[in-house]
Amino acid sequence: MWTIALRKVFSKKIPMICALIIITFVVIAALAQFFGFASAWDVPVGAQYLPPQLDGGFKMWLGTDILGRSVMFKVIQGTRVALSVGIVTAFLSAPIGIFFGCVSGYFGGLIDDLIIWFITTLSSIPNILLLIAISYSMGRGMTAVYIALTATSWISLARILRGEVIKHKQKEYLVAAESLGATHQKRIFKHLLPNVTHQIILSMTFMVEIAIRSEVLLSYLGLGVQNLPSWGKMIDDAKGELSTGVWWQLSAATVAMFFLMFSINVLGDYLRDALDPRGSV
């Protein structure tokens, strides 16, 4: 199923381009994270508010900010922040969502009631308020952002998986596995999970997108990343700059974020269509 789906997706041009864009972002982020690319973002490279220019090299292409720092370097560091927020959130919340979703759907009964109560409670607090409350009480910073986003992201995956597991529980293959004496563990991990993997992957794509968007909002509220430039902070800085004619910082962050969001959205759509033939249009 996977090979067919992936072949179906990547035989077309548009999803290929989107995948390439995402890979480019990931490579840039990885270079910044592990090889110190653009690490000199906080060193002034010229006068305050220089417009984008070709002379002066790569670091001047997007101009400078209020402290004369390179906007190009800041966008690159922002890419690193955005992707780490997205990826860390998705990989932290997926196991939690899988665990609660499977346990609750598979065992039912009192455990199910308790998990459902917990999930309903958390989703009764509007997402953004829960995000604010968690990152506020955790103290500002990257760790708080990770925890807040993880705490809010696993809920929808758990809900979807619970429904899927309940649906699959009555199917013949699981009944057969049970009659062959497979343990609960074996039935969940070997038989059930492979059948819902596509749901997990799609949810994770969605989580990455939501996480990156939420980071921008939290940064605007001053609850986001503290000592690194992020797209959210750059857009927030631009509030006062736009009226003085400084458009490059806002545009750079907006365009970078737009390309990433657009690629994730489109690729996610193609993946959904390929993995779930019923929903294709």
Binding site: I128, A133, Y136, S137, K239, M261, G279
Partner: protein, 314 residues
């Protein structure tokens, strides 16, 4: 119906208790000292102790939780730490401005995206459809803040079509000030709404009964109007209805950028000022209203759709 409503209200009691527990543990257990957060890093120890006593934070935790539950039941959350106003008063003042922004924006978005989705799905498979789908994903992918900043800068401060920010007391003033935020809010949500509506209409077009209707010689337009439209409304209405509870909170960003004195803007202020009592009260009150609105919309939804029963698990 009444039995259903009462049962839902009773179910919501453990949920409310859960919300209280989560909010309390976030603000009192997990975090650092709220008094310290409020005063900043450089406050003296004596000052922190005074504020702790003032906020009742020096009492044992069970007593604090008891006080908090009492606050919820009596709807008396004390005073805001920064403005010294009654929180109860502030919150009830915030409702109208928030709803004035969120309700018109909500209806406009729903109507406009439904109309566009119908047109687009009529042209499914042609270049019109393909180009517009790309355009809607484009709209969805723009960061929300960028819409607000560009909108405010270009339409209000450059072209002078709208006031830059503010809020009035009379209805005329309100329309004057809220036009731009409503417009931006519509643009913000249009992309994803149209895409969802289009997909649900097209999913219906591929059903067997549509083929039957075509086979018996019904014209494409009539098939559309009589069969497809009616059936595709079910997911559309569900999608619209689940957004209703969010209207109470409104948009944090829009309200704060356009200085609208609603609940969203208040939340932003509370965060900026580290106003601990205010933030806790806002989270609690909005969650409660959110739960109640969810019940209300569920009941109304069942009244409208006869297939949904008021039965036990329904």
């Amino acid at each position: 119906m009444w039995a259903y409503t009462i049962r839902r209200l009773m179910y919501s009691v453990p949920i409310l208790f859960g919300v209280a527990l989560v909010v309390f543990s976030l603000f009192h257990l997990v975090g650092g000292d709220p008094a310290q957060l409020l005063l900043g890093k450089h406050a003296t120890a004596e000052r922190v102790a005074v504020v702790r006593a003032e906020l009742g934070l020096d009492q044992p935790l069970p007593v604090q939780f008891g006080n908090y539950l009492k606050e919820i039941v009596t709807f008396d959350f004390g005073k805001s730490y920064t403005t010294r106003e009654e929180i109860r008063q502030k919150i009830s003042d915030g409702f109208i401005p928030t709803l004035c922004l969120s309700v018109p924006a909500f209806f406009l978005t729903a109507l406009l995206s439904l109309a566009i989705a119908l047109v687009v799905s009529y042209f499914r498979g042609t270049w019109i459809d393909r180009v517009s789908v790309v355009f809607f994903v484009f709209l969805m992918s723009m960061p929300g803040l960028a819409y607000i900043l560009f909108g405010q800068y270009v339409l209000a401060s450059k072209l002078g079509l709208f006031p830059i920010s503010g809020y009035g007391s009379g209805w005329g003033d309100r329309v004057h000030y809220l036009a731009l935020p409503v417009l931006i809010s519509v643009l913000l949500n249009l992309g994803s709404d149209i895409r969802f509506f289009r997909n649900s209409v097209i999913e219906e077009i591929n059903q067997d009964y549509v083929r039957t209707a075509r086979a018996k010689g019904l014209g494409e337009f009539l098939v559309y109007l009589k069969h497809v439209l009616k059936n595709s409304m079910i997911p559309v209405i569900t999608y619209v209805v689940i957004q209703i509870p969010y209207l109470v909170l409104g948009s944090l960003l829009l309200e704060s950028f356009f200085s609208i004195p609603g609940l969203g803007g208040m939340t932003v202020d509370a965060v900026n000022n580290s106003d601990f009592p205010m933030l806790k009260a806002m989270t609690t009150v909005i969650s409660i209203i959110y739960i109640l609105t969810t019940i209300l919309t569920d009941v109304l939804y069942r009244l409208v759709d006869p297939r949904m029963s008021f039965g036990k698990r329904g």
